[in-house]
């Protein structure tokens, strides 16, 4: 019963969002996003792999940059930790190894364009259906998002080395 109420609210919210933005199609919100056919999602191959948003090219990560990572950690602390933990699921998914699952460009588009991503991208739609809390827009610039990616690289590294040390 409780779950039913939540889903009802979510659909209502989805309908409102699409009424304002006009980008998403209401039927889409109701359908099972993950299993819908790739051709029907209206995305380019780039968007399917790297997400929808301001990042239009794959992001070359290059050599680790400790200064950038520490700037990213600061922003992550302020704008992300209310919902994300590195090691564990919280309001949203754990992010410690997110770069193994997603490209850097995908992560940056998700950070900068969460509303459209959760309306149109099959993976993000699937995550919304699972977690039920839509990722809020946090007004991150491209530089902010890139810095957070750099921070998440160091988290992944330390998780890997911790694992190595444990073995």
């Amino acid at each position: 019963m409780r779950r039913f109420v939540k889903l009802g609210l979510l659909f209502a919210a989805g309908a409102l969002l699409s009424a304002c933005g006009g980008a998403a199609d209401v039927d889409d919100a109701d359908s099972d996003a993950v299993t819908s056919s790739a051709a029907a999602d209206g995305l380019t191959a780039f968007e399917r792999e790297h997400g929808i948003g301001p990042i239009k090219q794959p992001v070359e990560l290059g050599e680790p940059d400790a200064t950038l990572a520490s700037a990213g950690e600061e922003i992550f602390r302020m704008k992300c930790t209310a919902c994300h933990r590195v090691e564990e699921r919280y309001i949203g998914p754990a992010l410690g190894n997110v770069l193994e699952r997603r490209s850097a460009a995908y992560a940056m588009n998700m950070m900068m364009n969460p509303t459209e991503m959760t309306q149109r991208h099959p993976v993000a739609k699937g995550l919304l259906a699972e977690y039920l809390a839509p990722m809020p827009f946090q007004d991150l610039t491209e530089q902010d998002a890139r810095a957070i990616v750099e921070y998440l690289r160091t988290v992944a590294d330390s998780a890997a080395s911790a694992q190595a040390a444990a073995q």
């Binding site: 209502a12 919210a13 302020m78 930790t81 209310a82 809390a133 007004d139």
Partner: protein, 662 residues
């Protein structure tokens, strides 16, 4: 200039679109009375569209300001100013309490009458709007990028701040008058000794620098009732005109005793001359107590007590003030767009007297005075009058202008608006209003360049215009089309409080500058927490500080223990959102104050002294997300002296501060 043209073109474009939309059904808008369909189409704003103009209506005895669209008459927003406003915690939250501080203490209410837009070169510029508090004399500045009151200054040596806050063409000063004369300095004395001891005060407040409003100087004048004002413009720039009544200096039964003389005075003040006299040291510094309240960069209001004020007396500053005899008990004083004519609304007069600025200057140069009162020369009526509008209706009060050579005056007693020509002071049209109209407003209608398309009549009596709601009825405003030769009534709409006066701007002047959120990294509130990791609860004696965050859809912490009955608990809530239109609210069971409404990136603090033992739920009051109903928490309140440790947390085990640390 180009800005203005753009706005006018925009308006024309809207007109074309509207005409296009309605071309199929409309029979055109000719004739003095519109068909219902034509009137409806003229005020129709399609879903999702904006109004062409936005009116800032004084809330009168509500103490606030309401924003309503024109032509739709739809209520958009209430901006709290002089009265506590539980809807968003204005005057309740720790960050805003100081805004309602006065030299008399915390004032939870006032009576706000005249909104006044800031101007550049005599034209409203959309930066700020000011409004007066009548009862405890004050003037407020509202920032139109945030629709929020940012500054309030009190006016000393003044009582009944009615003639305020009328502004000079480049927002140099706004004025404040004492409607009630009082002893200056105020003291214990017999009311019967009014004459000569009670004084009026005309105050000039520096207005063009945000955060720095200050009473620049005051002018001590005879003990009449100073009612309204307007600044000169163009040729008359540098002058300010004030109406007064009660030249009889009555102190009881004014209804009879202040209506004996057939003329009272408009005080013409040369404020540039006042600046000279102050600079030359002709003013004196007087002890006074008044406060200046300002919202700082950290969004926290602070109050400063000031202890002296600069006072000028006309006798020690020649050529500063002149009296213009004006029939009879004048109320409004309005200066036409050219700055050449000064129009008075004589409540009890049978004509509308129009003074000529040019003739006034000539009379001053020729020293044609009929009297001198307390150092103030009185000019001769016949020497300065440009003309009298005959048959203006009964009880003329206020006049505004359309920028096309016409003036519009309200007649309170005969309930009508009268249109007359500035060229020959002849009435050309009149329209009944329902009922007893006080002010009227044309967007920019008191400026150098009015947007002369609509007129709003602000009526004092409502009677049968709406569904009766017991003894208290909503006040009424009426929208009149003044774009053609004949005035046409388009719409009635109810208003909040008393719609005393209003000003309006084209939507374009407001659109671009709006602040959508406050940046979290620029939040300098000393109690802000910018990450959930920093949320905590601290105790210092009986004081408890809760450093809390809110984001869709949870608070951190959302479980708090170790609070005791009688503690003073400060909930400092920071909204971590960085998106437009996502405020969060906060309220807890048994709070005796208000809610908090916290804008994205901002911090607000509410104080709570729990009086009962038990579990007190709190929740987000602003529907913020699909899981808004889940946005809640619990505070455990224990008996005083209990040994429950202070502890807090979200989604896991509570963190705590050892009992020993208390």
């Amino acid at each position: 200039m180009s800005m203005r043209n753009r706005v006018l073109l925009g308006a024309a474009a809207v007109g074309v679109v509207t005409a296009g939309l309605w071309a199929c059904g409309s029979t055109g808008r000719s004739g003095p009375s519109l068909s219902a369909a034509d009137a409806a189409s003229a005020v129709y704003v399609a879903p999702g569209e904006y109004d062409e103009f936005y009116a800032f209506m004084s809330g009168g005895f509500s103490g606030n300001l309401t924003v309503m669209g024109l032509p739709s008459g739809r209520l958009l927003k209430t901006v709290p100013v002089f009265s506590q406003f539980p809807e968003n915690g204005w005057g309740y939250s720790e960050e805003t309490k100081a805004m309602l501080q006065t030299s008399y203490g915390f004032a939870a209410w006032d009576d706000a009458h005249h909104p006044e837009l800031s101007m550049t070169d005599g034209v409203p510029d959309g930066r700020w709007i000011f409004i007066n508090a009548n009862n405890t004399p004050r003037v407020a500045r509202i920032d139109l990028a945030e629709f929020e009151t940012k500054e309030i200054v009190e006016i000393p040596n003044s009582a009944g701040n009615h003639g305020s806050p009328f502004i000079t063409p480049n927002s140099e000063y706004l004025v404040a008058t004492s409607r009630f004369s009082v002893p200056v300095p105020n003291r214990d004395m017999s009311i019967s000794e009014y004459t000569g001891n009670f004084k009026g005060m005309l105050s000039f407040v520096r207005a063009d620098r945000a955060g720095e409003m200050d009473v620049a100087f005051q002018i001590l004048v005879p003990g009449y009732n100073y009612d309204l004002a307007h600044a000169g413009k163009g040729p008359s720039d540098g002058w300010m005109f004030f109406t007064s009544y009660n030249a009889e200096e009555a102190h009881t039964l004014l209804e009879v005793n202040a209506s004996k003389r057939d003329k009272d005075f408009i005080a013409a003040v040369n404020w540039k001359r006042a600046e000279e006299c102050v600079a030359q040291g002709n003013a004196r510094s007087m002890p006074a107590r008044y406060v200046h309240n300002v919202v700082g960069d950290d969004h926290v209001a602070r109050s400063e007590l000031k202890e002296s004020v600069t006072v000028l007396e006309p006798a020690s500053c020649e050529r500063l003030v002149y009296f213009l005899p004006t029939p009879k008990s004048p109320h409004g004083v309005d200066v036409d767009p050219s700055g050449r004519f000064i129009v008075a609304g004589g409540k009890l007069a049978t004509v509308i007297p129009v003074h000529s600025f040019e003739k006034m200057i000539q009379a001053i140069e020729e020293e044609e005075f009929e009297d001198v009162i307390d150092g103030i020369p009185v000019l001769e009526y016949d020497e300065i009058i440009a003309g009298e509008v005959q048959d203006p209706g009964l009880g003329p009060l206020h006049t505004e202008f359309d920028g096309r050579g016409y003036a519009y005056t309200t007649a309170f007693i005969s309930s009508e608006v009268v249109k007359w020509r500035l060229e020959d002071f002849t009435v050309v049209d009149r329209i009944p209003v329902y009922y007893s109209v006080g002010h009227l407003m044309i967007p920019g209608g008191d400026s150098r360049e009015p947007w002369g398309k609509y007129l709003v009549a602000l009526n004092k009596m409502t009677k049968d215009r709406y569904l009766p709601t017991g003894p208290e009825l909503a006040h009424s405003a009426q929208l009149i089309d003044i774009s053609g030769d004949k005035m046409k009534l388009l719409l009635d709409f109810p208003t909040m409080g008393e719609p005393h006066y209003a000003q309006a701007l084209p939507a374009e002047l407001l659109m671009e500058k709006q602040v959508k959120l406050y940046r979290l990294d620029e939040n300098t509130n000393q109690y802000a927490v910018k990450s959930e990791a920093d949320t905590r609860v601290t105790r210092n004696g009986r004081r408890v500080d809760v450093y809390m965050t809110a984001i869709r859809s949870h608070f951190a912490p959302d479980n708090i223990e170790g609070i005791e009955v009688g503690d003073t608990v400060y909930f400092h809530v920071t909204n971590l959102e960085q998106d437009w239109d996502v405020p969060h609210g906060f309220a807890a069971l048994g709070m005796e104050t208000a809610e908090l409404l916290i804008m994205p990136g901002a911090t607000r603090t509410l104080t709570w002294v729990p009086t009962r033992v038990g579990i007190h739920p709190f929740y987000c009051t602003d529907f913020c997300s699909a899981l808004h109903q889940e946005m809640q928490g619990y505070v455990r309140v224990s008996p005083r002296g209990s040994n429950v440790p202070l502890a807090w947390g979200t989604g896991g085990a509570l963190r705590s501060q050892p009992v020993a640390a208390q």
